[in-house]
Amino acid sequence: MRPSRIAAVTVALLSFVIGFSSADAQQCPKGKLRVYTSWPMQGAMIPEGTGMKNGVDLAVSEVGGVVAGYCLEVVNLDDASPQTGKWDGAVEAENANKAVGDPLAIVYIGTYNSGAAKVSIPINNRAHMAQITPANTYPGLTKKRGAAPGEPEIYRPGGFVNYFRPVPADDIQGAVGAKWAKRLGAKKVYILNDQELYGKGIADVFEVMAKKLGLPVVANEGIDWKQPDQKPVLTKIRASGADMVYMGGVIETGAQVVIRQMKEVGLVAPRVRFVGPDGLLEEELLKGATCDAALATEMRVTFAGLPFEKMRGVGAKTYETYKSKFGKEPTAYALYAVEAGRVAIDGIRRAASAIEKAKDVTEKREAVRKAIASTKNFDGINGKWNFDENGDVDYDTMSGFKVVKADGPIGCKFQFETILE
């Protein structure tokens, strides 16, 4: 271990001790438990990393730092490599091993990057430690839909689920997109995908859901996104008479080209409209001359969860609390970190008696893992939800954004249009 990292951990621990000295003053009749967090805390990730740290701190402070007689300590670890400033598998493995090796560690909250989660889930799984992510959306971490061969079993060496995700996975976008297409009055959909894991997974789910809803699908066609000319495929769509194009992809894999050329071959509203997943919800996409085409095709995209200002109930309250406590807007995943913290605390509370009876640390962790796995009817920021058998949330509340005209150099922007459920 490099000295810089020891220093970082020490600072994190010290900051904890200072931050939660009030909790120490209270009684901890049953002793201490530690919650570890792990995500990048360097470079461009400092704002988001800090936002998520604030989120977990908020959840802990809500219960005064004490759960069922146990005092909670949060240990914040950084899984970025000091050399590159980006998440690093080796560092993430080190963090997970550190947590597993700490007899007081009870839950692991993280990671931010799905790739990092691939490393830490199995390590925590072997130790029966529950891992809750505030941000990973790659479907393969929990389910077969939209996954690579062998997933998600390769992350579960013990054969049980220890990884939980209170965030909707990417593939849900496809299902919600199909419902939205139906609601928008589409009669016949043409699906394109970039033949990559994210895009194809979403497109396949869209296809299944559309068929279930009785919405005819002409084809689910994989495009060669390295080809800057998609006109032949788009001409084919025009000939097919489809009135909606759904594309599973991200802005790097041809979506920009598809949208621009849709206009050039005459695939424009009201005859044909465009819908896509949140991989396309990037201001970058609209730069250049894509704005005209995005407006002409009435481009719409789905987005997992609700924008903070549209949240209701617990979500709205959490949003307000966060703003007043930290004096700024939450970052994209900060409120999901609050949710992850609350799920962990709820699990520990329900497992309290089992923890007391447990003979060793593994049994304690197993008790908490089981309690979290059975989370039911949880009052979350996007509404009530349960964990399914994969450790995924079962809600599919999303929001729909539409490209509208706007002032400024780009000339248009994504604007919240509706809540999708």
Binding site: Q195, A219, E221, G222, I223, D224, K226, Q227, P228, D229, K231, P232, V233, T235, K236, R238, A239, I251, E252, Q256, V257, R260, Q261, E264, V265, G266, E284, K287, G288, A289, T290
Partner: protein, 312 residues
């Protein structure tokens, strides 16, 4: 759309797509014809051509769509500047990377070409970054049938389609004239046929090779500019893909044969557009390369090739 409208539209799509392949393929085939080198860096010269043309537009202060007189002044100027820049770049590549290896085994310059290709890609990556670059709408896009002729047809032909055809045909005709009718063209053909004899007859072989790289680079630059104006997007890695298609076109037409490369490019353009329509976009690459394999098995010299037997 009626079936014939679909066919006509896809043929137009194939024509514009194929015209760009043809321009790049010509550069491949010319260099191969003269020094028997498959210049893998050629696709990347095309890619840099797109970015360089963007810089010329920026230097000339063009950020919006060109109108009226600008189309006949600025546009040809940018064509000339871009072609000169990429031509110079291609000559520089030959001087620095290939010329020192002129007398070594054939494999040495080939591997060097792959290295140069990586270098050019990384230059573009450092210069423009990894994200796709939006190319401004410098060339006006007008729906010809509707706006000029008032015909409401299901077929779309825009001024951009005209640009591609209108720019590539003169370039190809000009190249053909240059190679078949001028003294320099004669020298090129002679060098391609037999380098030693050509030298013995007093032809400056090195200067002829330089000229070949110059013309090939200029064509790649023109293709980059046309592609930029037509598709309005540029990526640092696009040279590899385009190069592969163009190389296939050159081999299909018979490598070393110039009309063959042009026809091969158009053929691949049509074939891939029709395949996207009538088979499936995901099978298009497989189909193109399957046909290439069939041609190589049954007609190794390519569709138009005659000389390649003694070249390989």
């Amino acid at each position: 759309m009626l079936w014939w409208e679909v066919l006509v539209q896809q043929t137009i799509n194939g024509l514009t797509r194929g015209a760009v392949f043809a321009l790049i393929a010509l550069g491949y085939t010319m260099v191969y014809g003269i020094i028997e080198l498959i210049n893998f860096a050629h696709g990347d010269v095309f890619m840099l051509g797109l970015f360089i043309s963007l810089s010329w537009f920026a230097l000339l202060g063009v950020t919006k769509t060109l109108v009226g007189w600008q189309l006949v002044t600025i546009l040809p100027l940018v064509f000339a500047l871009t072609m000169l820049t990429t031509a110079a770049l291609n000559v520089a590549i030959d001087r620095m990377a290939y010329r020192p290896l002129r007398r070594s085994t054939r494999l040495a310059p080939l591997i060097t070409a792959i290295g140069v290709s990586f270098m050019l890609e990384n230059v573009a990556l450092l210069w423009k970054g990894p994200a796709p670059i939006a190319y401004p709408d410098v060339f006006p896009s007008v729906d010809i049938l509707r706006e000029w002729f008032g015909v409401d047809s299901a077929i779309f032909i825009t001024t951009k389609d005209l640009l591609v055809v209108g720019a590539t045909i003169p370039l190809m005709v000009g190249l053909n004239y240059f190679v078949t009718r001028t003294r320099w063209g004669k020298a090129m053909r002679a060098t391609a046929q037999d380098r030693e004899t050509a030298q013995a007859m007093g032809i400056d072989v090195e200067r002829t090779i330089l000229l070949t790289f110059f013309v090939g680079g200029a064509l790649a630059g023109a293709a980059g500019l046309i592609q930029g104006m037509y598709y309005n997007i540029g990526m640092w890695w696009m040279g590899y893909q385009a190069g592969l298609r163009a190389f296939t076109a050159a081999v299909l037409g018979g490598i070393g044969n110039m009309p063959g490369a042009a026809l091969g490019g158009l053929f691949i353009g049509f074939l891939s557009a029709w395949s996207d329509q009538y088979i499936s976009a995901r099978w298009t690459n497989a189909l193109v390369f399957a046909i290439l394999i069939l041609v190589l098995v049954f007609r190794p010299q390519g569709l138009m090739g005659e000389r390649s037997a003694d070249k390989v």
